[in-house]
Homo-oligomer: 218 residues x 4
Amino acid sequence: MKARRRKLVEKVVKGPARWHRHPETRRQEILEAALVNFAEKGFSATRMNDMARRAGISSGTLYLYFINKEAIFKSLVEESLGTQVSQLTQVMREWEGPSDELLRLVVRTINGFLRSSDRAVLFKLIIAETGNFPELARFYRHHVTDHMLTVFEGIISRGIARGEFRRIDLTDGARMIFSSIMFTAIWRTSLGTLDSESYDYGRFIETKLDLILRGLAP
Amino acid sequence: MKARRRKLVEKVVKGPARWHRHPETRRQEILEAALVNFAEKGFSATRMNDMARRAGISSGTLYLYFINKEAIFKSLVEESLGTQVSQLTQVMREWEGPSDELLRLVVRTINGFLRSSDRAVLFKLIIAETGNFPELARFYRHHVTDHMLTVFEGIISRGIARGEFRRIDLTDGARMIFSSIMFTAIWRTSLGTLDSESYDYGRFIETKLDLILRGLAP
Amino acid sequence: MKARRRKLVEKVVKGPARWHRHPETRRQEILEAALVNFAEKGFSATRMNDMARRAGISSGTLYLYFINKEAIFKSLVEESLGTQVSQLTQVMREWEGPSDELLRLVVRTINGFLRSSDRAVLFKLIIAETGNFPELARFYRHHVTDHMLTVFEGIISRGIARGEFRRIDLTDGARMIFSSIMFTAIWRTSLGTLDSESYDYGRFIETKLDLILRGLAP
Amino acid sequence: MKARRRKLVEKVVKGPARWHRHPETRRQEILEAALVNFAEKGFSATRMNDMARRAGISSGTLYLYFINKEAIFKSLVEESLGTQVSQLTQVMREWEGPSDELLRLVVRTINGFLRSSDRAVLFKLIIAETGNFPELARFYRHHVTDHMLTVFEGIISRGIARGEFRRIDLTDGARMIFSSIMFTAIWRTSLGTLDSESYDYGRFIETKLDLILRGLAP
DNA sequence: TATGAATGAGTCTTCATTCAT
DNA sequence: TATGAATGAAGACTCATTCAT
């Protein structure tokens, strides 16, 4: 937290000038670095210098790609969505089989994405910074959270319509499913990092799915 | 030499008496103010001045009660535990009735406490600051989360032993229950604040309990 | 230098209210405490609180006797002169014997006073704070150093007139004698404190006197 | 969130180019400025801002060269030693002529160095801050003071061995010589600054040397 | 484009001084 | 008179941002 000491050392021999990568690549590298730093220390405690260092550039260069720290944070949140969520809607629409399998598929897909990418920490970030960046939170809420909830509601609704699930409140049901994913994402990137042995989040999700589906059974 | 001179101007009408209050009261007021500020902006972005203002004192006074900002944060986390969790263990030990009712009781109690006090935001804070305050996170983990998990495991174990629940993995089971509480606490104090109409977290918990208990049925 | 930590402990049981001493006594106690603290840490680094504690009173009470920190420093310098120097002039005026003995007597007397009282540190203080308190330095210069120089000049002048000393520049001669005293005073209260074994300042003065008197011999 | 925004106003005409200077030069400029300020006001009363202003840079830049105020003070003391003192030892070792001339040469050399550079004030500083920086004082004591004393002892010892000086205590003798230099250094940079007309310190030293040498004569 | 030294506003913290008791 | 909690201006230090190179 503390102890940031600079030393004006004697011009460390720099490696040969890195080839100038494609601007977009560079931009992504910055976001990548920012994500790691923000995730670790939060927005305020993250130093532009550290971020630059991690991205392999100098602090000044950051400002060639983003106007300021806030812009980096915003881009991070806004650009990390990609097409993932909308793909889910597609999958759901085309699905022909039983609803419980659809639910399993969707949850596993989301979870897989969160685990493979580092995007899980964005949950944590947004949650921590809601007060400081309400606009951004709103954006995230709209484009990510609500979207997922809609997908889950759709699946439950489908299941009920097909007589596979008992009739429950869609809102609550969707949030239940969502809460599992959120719990995993948050725990893994916060208190879970304190565990010496890694907890099997995949199994947790499976068990929870089982339980939810049992509970949904008519 | 510039011996610091109090500005001899104005003699602004000062706020209410600055003397009366009992030290411990004052201390609690500071923690109260700190909680609100930290919850809203996070540790780094919280200004000591704002905190003081909210507590109705001057910034210097903060330092009569805590040696620095970090100490306030630590006290906040460490002192907010109270006897709540241990009381739960007591309740559990003495319970004679069916395990599902015990589970409902315990979950409702915890939830009630989190809602009535402002302690729910501590979850959010700890999660956001795990990277910056690992020691504190460890403390919280040990004294709060692990404790709750143990309680839940105890209830599930009891239910299984009494034939009320089917045999499931205790660890996963406990985390499922815990995730509901955590989700509620976090959501309410972050993205949930963006909702214009308030979501009924109580009902969510109840619905989720129903679902879990259904899922636990043999 | 650093690390001043306050603790708002629980009303340490104070001893029975000290009897209120005579105001002048109290005043002297404060100056005494101030001298020690200033000597040790200098003007700026001395805390009013420490000073009060050392004087056995509370910080607020200091302000019943002095209007501010500066005033304490000034009083310290101005009041420590006492009648010492003027007594010397008296001694000199009445002296009938040889000038070398007079010089020895005077130097020993001054040295004895400096050693017995803690006034030696005032030299150090004034020297360190000349830039911050030019007025005070001027005062000291006028009332202490110049006074001493005059006395020494008088003795040398007397010695020359009586054929006991060779003819030398009075100004330089007086400063030579003065420099010995000053060196002793300053060294003893600064770098000399680092010595494990105490250096014999008395002997040093005697040896130096011998040398000076030899040098002054016609 | 209040990401710090450079005030976009005015674009005040900035001072001369801020880039050119060599890091080491810059560093020396800071030490130079620090010396002046410390000498004038002492360590505590010196403001980092004033120091920066005097060095022609901004306060933040100070911290690119030194980690904090204390480090500047330390560097000042430690780096100002240079090779001066050790050169003296060399001179002494090679000297073939009479000891009194050697002594004159050495004392004049030291005095000349102290006068030409501003290093004389370091004496004053160290003396004032012994209590606050004992380590530093010890360093100075070891590397400067004791070193000089050793040189003087060597010369006296040489003189005695060659029958040029009478037998006196080396310790006291060396301190006598040293006290002259110290007196000059301290007086000139403290109470001496109050003199309207400048006192001729050079002559004082010469007169004192005469006196000491007379006193040392067999 | 890229760099990183330089800037200076902003923050935490200290402590001389005040004043209700 | 005496106390010491409270105050808030001031100072050390940080770090987002700029800009000469």
